[in-house]
Symmetry: C2
Subunit: 423 residues, 2 copies
Amino acid sequence: MVQSAEIICVGTELLLGDILNSNAQYLAEQLAQLGIAHYYQTVVGDNPERIKQAIAIAVSRSNLLIFTGGLGPTPDDLTHSTIADYFGVPLVEHPEIVADITEKFAQRGRVMTDNNRKQALLPEGAEVLTNRAGSAPGIIWQPQTGVTILTFPGVPAEMKLMWQEVAVPYLTQQGWVTCTLFRRTLKFWGISESALAEKVNSYFDLQNPTVAPYANHGEVKLRIAALANSEAEALKLIQPIEQELRELGGADCYGIDHDTPAIAVGRMLQSAQMTLAVAESCTGGGLGAMLTSTPGSSAYFWGGVISYDNSVKVNLLGVNPDDLAQQGAVSAIVAEQMAIGVRDRLGTTWGLSITGIAGPDGGTETKPVGLVYIGLASATRVESFEHRFGGQRGREWVRRLSANTALDHLRRRLLNEGIINYY
Amino acid sequence: MVQSAEIICVGTELLLGDILNSNAQYLAEQLAQLGIAHYYQTVVGDNPERIKQAIAIAVSRSNLLIFTGGLGPTPDDLTHSTIADYFGVPLVEHPEIVADITEKFAQRGRVMTDNNRKQALLPEGAEVLTNRAGSAPGIIWQPQTGVTILTFPGVPAEMKLMWQEVAVPYLTQQGWVTCTLFRRTLKFWGISESALAEKVNSYFDLQNPTVAPYANHGEVKLRIAALANSEAEALKLIQPIEQELRELGGADCYGIDHDTPAIAVGRMLQSAQMTLAVAESCTGGGLGAMLTSTPGSSAYFWGGVISYDNSVKVNLLGVNPDDLAQQGAVSAIVAEQMAIGVRDRLGTTWGLSITGIAGPDGGTETKPVGLVYIGLASATRVESFEHRFGGQRGREWVRRLSANTALDHLRRRLLNEGIINYY
């Protein structure tokens, strides 16, 4: 049997669809990064017979069984007792865990109940997988030759901490980690997935690194992934390909990995010591919220005006009431006046504005849902851009796309002014 | 064997952790609502041998196999060919599907490739499960007595449409849908999960309906779920319990199901014909974005000022520069002046403001990360509220909690003024 891992998520709440199985994704990504093969995931409810069936199947096809969930204090938390039962060993109480739980409860001014004492019962022979962030510990156990079991609580923050602090070093030491999958993602705005794929088509046949396209929320990504024995080796494989793809991407490529259009714009404004103000209608503050989600954004983002009602456009931004009446709030001229107005009043280098119809109602034949105007003003020049995002994908989609597209117009303008986007 | 369903998600991208398995959650929730038992979920990669193993295991323990993924045009889309192979039948081409795909491509000005023609190959004897939203159809098939197979593409929007339009009517007609799980969620703000649980403890032992608490992002929910033969019967079981829980919840209960604090506040403002303006510092527009995510919010939300930089607080909101210098931007007096200023300038009934330290940097011993002041002004009165949200859970957590807490203060103030929150 090839060495491989299987993820087993225990919890009736997963079978009821009450929660999204983000633990499985996290562990899957981690296994891929460590180069540990992983062919199956199983979800099973809080039922001892069915958990035992899942264990039997997993043991027949995988050597590393990674459990999440079912370690809590309530009667339907059955993972450890069922694993012990399956392998025919008793549960034993660990006094150091009882002490640890008692202390954690005392810190919060509470007394430990008998329910919680249950969490100190682990299969005989299993090592404790310490949980620093919560009360339920996991186990590391080899119940028989060729079978390793790791268990984690279902709470994602606890699971992740335990995975990083204990499981990864353990798996490395046990020889499970044989190579590293290192990834670099290039991010694009303003080009469709198919247009980008056509440009870089020949790269999709590469074996190591591999190149694959992804698209979501109007954004397109190229992921470059290399398998190697070390990060340095992986980088050596990735870097020349990354360089070529960046050149092919040109101005459509705005950044890498965790970058967003707001981060790219912020980086460029900061390096050029420029400042930005926004005037938002249909996005209602969403553009400002995107910009300020970056710590330190106060260096270049000064604020703005949410001009949702037309009176605010006139009174706070100086939009001409006649233009508003004749052209409507969703028009190029109003977008331009909003951008000029907010720039003037806040005294920033740039003013960026959005006015549009987010839907689902409010559209007309000439001005349908999804019609959005973006205005961009500097001290010497104002321009506007018309977009038709459609209404099929809903209000939040139009709003998110509008904000990111506005940022992308500013980014391209900054590029045209010679400001380099170092990423 | 008890009649039960099993969800089988096919896709190496799930095993690599590239995507979150939201399809499994959607289908699980749907099965629960239709009262169809469901004990296992399996995830398997694009590998015919392993897909066949998963089918063999599923057929041994479940009668309804629901597949998602692997229906696309590329060589690693193997679901239909592997299912046909497992049950020993050939694939047959459906000319009507070829015609449908050709037409869909023509509409987008593209020519169908041979790759796409593959999507018209279905196991002999299987019915077509039409995909109106995309090119890949699924199947409905009973390959042997006691085994029903449904297949769906991995694209969530296509899968959901096909599920609702074809699968639910089919399962109903086939007698799978024997009862209905109906849920009502009560939503709370301003009370901890444990405090609420203590209040309503006795309800957790109920059998039908059941009552269970959930908590996330600072919000606490009570979910009431009833199993019955019809929605009307379920409602009869739920309503008296819901009424009692609402009374026990009092002012902490702000709404039901898809309500948010922003929706509750909007509902109250609209019924009282009142209007609102916001002044945002650390949330940077997030409060406005929450308010305007509700269609029709222009009836009560007029807009506001994002006063991220202190100059904006002074110039656009009239905050006193001396108070700013002496008390700092994150202070009760600045929050109050921001609320007064935005209310005055926009001419609304209410002004609501937020100023705080979202982190991760910028905290001091006296003003730590997570310290937030909320200001609330009417024509005759201004008040402010101090909160300490801590910095452990990150910048976005502080910002989201700040915005929702600000809305909750306004909601409670409106309640005190005699405005009823009808929900």
